[in-house]
Amino acid sequence: MDLTAFAEAVRGDDAVTVTGLGTRGGPVPGARDVVAPAAIEEVAPAEMTVRCGAGTPVDELQAALADVGQMVALPSGGTVGGALAVGRSGVGRLGHGPVRDTLLQLRYVATDGAVVTAGGPTVKNVTGFDLCRLFVGSLGTLGFAGEVILRTRPLPACTRWVAGPADPFALVRRLHRPTAVLWDGVTTWVCLEGHPADVEAEAAVTGLSEVDGPPPLPTGGRASRPPSSLRSLPWTPGTFVAQVGVGVVHTHEPVEPEAPSAEVVELHRRLKASFDPAGRLNPGISPLRSALSSR
């Protein structure tokens, strides 16, 4: 399916929902499903960019990029469009940056079936308003992503995980740009990437032992906290995994997000009314998760 056919599929008067691999909750019940294009259109290693359909599986994209020694900073699993629509980063956020900074250009299908381009193909661009940022994390409520251009980054020459008992906050300060520092209240895991000799030297600084990878992350809830507040968390050690230096905490129990200000709620209402006045796109979903009970 190409972008034009996708736009044709979205067009109509009925409620419509976009679905990928179902990794992040799947289609909204009671709305007609559409599926975004899923081809890798252009790998441009010399530009450090890639253009692909939003329906492309993230893992398939990473495999294609690995062939040219590159990667994108998206969490594994699901589709590219799903990762962008939800906007949550993976465990490498401390070193690789947030999902929102990977998106250079977005071509999306609007509620009226128009194909709209936001951003641009170059790695640096301040031409016009930054609709790309507005769309990352919008849960498909403003338009459906069809095709994207993403910023890639070089695959590190060496990646190593180490773990053991250590003060994770001291390590975040001591190490130079670690890729991840995880902590469950007892054990600390650190991911180091870069030149092999640097990785070895940094691993020695941690005093921790080599392990295969990160611990399994609890999937019941996800909290977003200022990084400094992770020193005193309300959860029992061993029942959570915190991304130290970032502020994301993975928990077993659902976490209630903080209530947004009245002004922020009003801006959300006006943006939805402005981009999707009839409320066709992913009906019942709001990016303000606290405003919803079930999703």
Partner: protein
Amino acid sequence: MEALLRELREALGPDRVRAGHVELGLYGRDASNIAGRAGAVCLPTCTEEVQACVRAARRHGVPFVARGSGTGLAGGAVPLDGALVIATTKMDRLLSVDVDDRVAWVQPGMLNLDLSRQVAHLGLHFAPDPSSQQSCSIGGNVANNSGGPHCLAYGVTSAHVLAVEVVLPDGEVTVLGGIDPEPDGLDLRGAFVGSEGMLGIATKVAVRLTPNPPAVQTVLLDFADVDAGAATVSAIIAAGMVPAAIEMMDALITRAVEEFVHAGFPIDAAAVLIVEVDGLPDGVAAQTERVRQIGLAHGARSVRIATDPAERAAIWKGRKSAFGAIARIKPNYYLHDTVVPRSALVAVLREVYEIARRHDLIVMNVFHAGDGNLHPLLVFDAREPGVLERVHAAGEEIVRVSVAAGGVLSGEHGIGLEKRDYMPLVFSPDDLDHQRRLRDAFDPDHLANPHKVLPEGSRCGDLQHVPAGAWI
């Protein structure tokens, strides 16, 4: 306007509301070649005073324009239709620093370099480093999503702003974004950064502070022709490296800079590249060697590696004083800002020289080559009859060849008034309509910095180009 002035004087005190002829003239322009007309100027010192200014302007139906240091190059802070200028120069304080969060809260009028200086003792800095960093404000950086040489590896302002306290165009105050990594809801912070003052006025900014790298090497490569320098840039990126910075200067600007700062730039070079690599020591050494080899393979005549911080500082002083140095060649300049794919650098640079030749103008190129961000600098003497028309014609052609090569209108200066009417070159009517929807959701009455960024048909306020000789 008299009633508005009375109200503002009551709220701010008479000394921080100005409507004198000289001040209205000064605040009627920024560092671009465009002048407008300010109705009044106010100098608030806190969020509540900014809010009072916005509410007063609303009550009187007067548009308002936020202004930082006025160093913008695209006319973004130029007031039209007698707008109220709300200048943040008196809001220049560092409010707090949290070393665990690596976050500082600052007022919008704080100067970019002052922030880095004030956190230097913590081993931290603010990564966006525009060449104007000694005089540009953080609020201006937020409005324009500013860049700088080191944004190649570290990202532009948007990647370094976590939250913004704003006075919305309806006069309400709220915080967009947060110190936590995934605040609930739409990324309103991301939409606000780079919106050129059209979605409200930032009154406090939470910026990310970046740890200083443990190792840095700065490499100066010298080429006998521009193509070889540009090809080296593409080859470095294609080799899978993202240096902290890759800057290029051509022959004319290198000579002008060397005469100005005496940093040891080769004055007979057709082009020089400044490549900076940072990080941990072994990675830095390996990348420096790789850069040297790529340079030599592309015909570099010499590769100099700065051996101490003083030598590094001299090289960067040269790069960042480039625009001061050109005053020795001609009294006036017009600085452009476009981005092209990095693989198109050689071809587009050739066209830029050809355009200048056709219009009988001198062009100098000093730019962020690593991310394809061109800054062709047309220098001229505005007293020469007919020269302004040639400068504008050449400028438009530069924009068009950049877009034709797959590029965009601006990499860091913004659209403002300067490039507003070029927006249809890169965006369809539907694309522009959706940008308008974002603006309308924040500012349905179009009182916040109206007439900027989005083309609006025949209506363009009382915009006027400055008379010849008045250009900066």
